[in-house]
């Protein structure tokens, strides 16, 4: 029973992790919260599910969703960030809030406000390991997350784009002095951030077997909590905090009832801000930039 909840929690945690990485990438590069990531996640779910309903293979649905949300991520950057580069940080925050509302309204208009349901027989096989039963969809969700996280880590450590991104995240002027084309790499970060969120959206669709226009708010806020607990721009912290919060949430529901569901997750976020503001793996002194 507890083990079963652990598996369910890890699945949810995998989704939170990817969305949190989406937030964290932009946060790292520009030091601003891109609220639109949450709704790119939701749109990714709709695009992916629509492709699945149109009989495309799941892999194509995931790739298609990633592509659409990557492009939209760059649109958000060009419209909501670039013109506001020298404005106070609240300005881009508000303009991404605007994008969030627009994306949500667009989804409601295109797909309606009722949940869009996945074909019931898709990935419905279940595997038993001892007393634990793992769904095929769950396995896929976790496997995609593991692969993407590993790919992201390799990208950051071993490619020019990764080096440029890390340099800009640390010091934009120094990165430029070293030859990093900052505008291009910044756009790349927004595209990558959007793609990660979009894939996570397909994952949540597979996990819940449905998608609604409101899933972005629900999961997006939790991903922000994950990012804060992990330490804003610390990828490894996010990897730890994502599964942790997923499991915590599922366990809270199992042991305390649905009424307490979100209290523990956000409670942990507030606790982190109070006692360890740099996050689980953040460095002391490196205050969070939200």
């Amino acid at each position: 029973m507890l083990l079963q909840q652990l598996v369910n929690g890890l699945t949810l945690g995998a989704v939170y992790t990817l969305v949190a990485l989406g937030f964290s990438l932009v946060m790292g590069v520009l030091g601003v919260l891109n609220l639109a990531v949450a709704e790119l996640f939701m749109l990714g779910g709709y695009v992916g599910l629509s492709l699945i309903l149109a009989d495309y293979p799941v892999a194509v649905a995931i790739a298609g969703a990633a592509l659409v949300t990557a492009v939209l991520g760059v649109v958000v950057e060009k419209v909501a960030y670039q013109p506001l580069r020298n404005a106070p940080p609240i300005a881009p925050l508000l303009s991404t809030l605007g994008f969030s509302v627009i994306f949500q309204t667009a989804a409601t208009n295109i797909w309606g406000s009722d949940p869009l349901l996945m074909p019931p027989d898709l990935l419905d096989a279940r595997y038993r390991v001892g007393s634990v039963s793992v769904g095929q969809a769950q396995l896929l969700v976790m496997a995609t997350a593991v692969v993407l996280v590993a790919a992201l880590a390799l990208l950051m450590r071993h490619t020019r784009f990764g080096y440029g991104l890390r340099a800009i995240a640390e010091n934009r002027d120094v990165a430029r002095l070293l030859g990093v084309p900052a505008p291009l790499v910044t756009s790349g970060a927004f595209a990558l951030s959007g793609a990660l969120a979009g894939v996570a959206g397909v994952q949540i669709g597979l996990h819940y077997s449905a998608i609604t226009p409101y899933v972005g708010v629900e999961v997006g806020l939790k991903a922000i909590a994950v990012m804060v607990v992990g330490g804003t721009t610390n990828i490894w912290g996010v990897l730890l905090a994502g599964p942790l919060l997923g499991v915590l949430e599922v366990m809270t529901v199992a042991l305390g009832g649905a009424a307490f569901r979100d209290m523990t997750v956000y409670g942990l976020m507030i606790l982190t801000l109070l006692v360890r503001p740099q996050g689980l793996l953040g460095r002391a002194g490196g205050a969070q930039r939200v």
Binding site: D173, R176, G179
Partner: protein
Amino acid sequence: MLAVRNLAVRYGPIQAVRDLTLEVRPGEIVALIGANGAGKTSAVKAIAGLLPHTGTVSLGGQPLPRRAEYALRAGLALVPEGRGILGQMTVAENLRMGGYARRDRAGLEAAMEEQMRRFPILEQRRDKLAGLLSGGEQQMLAIGRALLSQPRLLVLDEPSLGLAPIMAARIFALVEELRATGVAILLVEQKARQVLKIADRAYVLETGTLRASGTASELAARGLLADAFLGTVTQAPPPA
């Protein structure tokens, strides 16, 4: 090599640099000296393409691109004030960043090894986070990193800032060595007396305006150094 004409930089109402004209010829070490707030950093940041400015800047007869990432590709490397070490990256990764704009992978690897030989301490610390290096080690890393872009002109903004005198002396000796390799150097400093021992010529900046220029002995003879600086060289350097 470097020709700057009528450079002006402003921050809103503050005019940090006005009408600065200077030149660095091939193989020269040229010093840009001035007290705190004189506008030295503003001038070199503008030259390197980090600050909006008016006036013209050219390198090797060609106009220098006005954006830092392209000025670098044109052959100008700036080691910024405070060194600009990427503290979350390792020493080796910092060096690799110095070759970011290079396309020749093999050449870059060889050049990285060359800088590690030049600065054995960097070789020893290669996989350490660069933020953990001492100030002097960071300055060596910053200079080694800048050299990896194969600059024609190296601009150093107060490389001795915050360093113990012995380390500052080592850095100045290194700058002299570098000139021998053929790179032209524009050296920003407050420590006028030390710098003038190695510089071929100097420009003296005072509240954003060029006060004097010439060889070390010319400047000393005109008593301008005492006027502009000797008050500041005795001050303790600010912490890095």
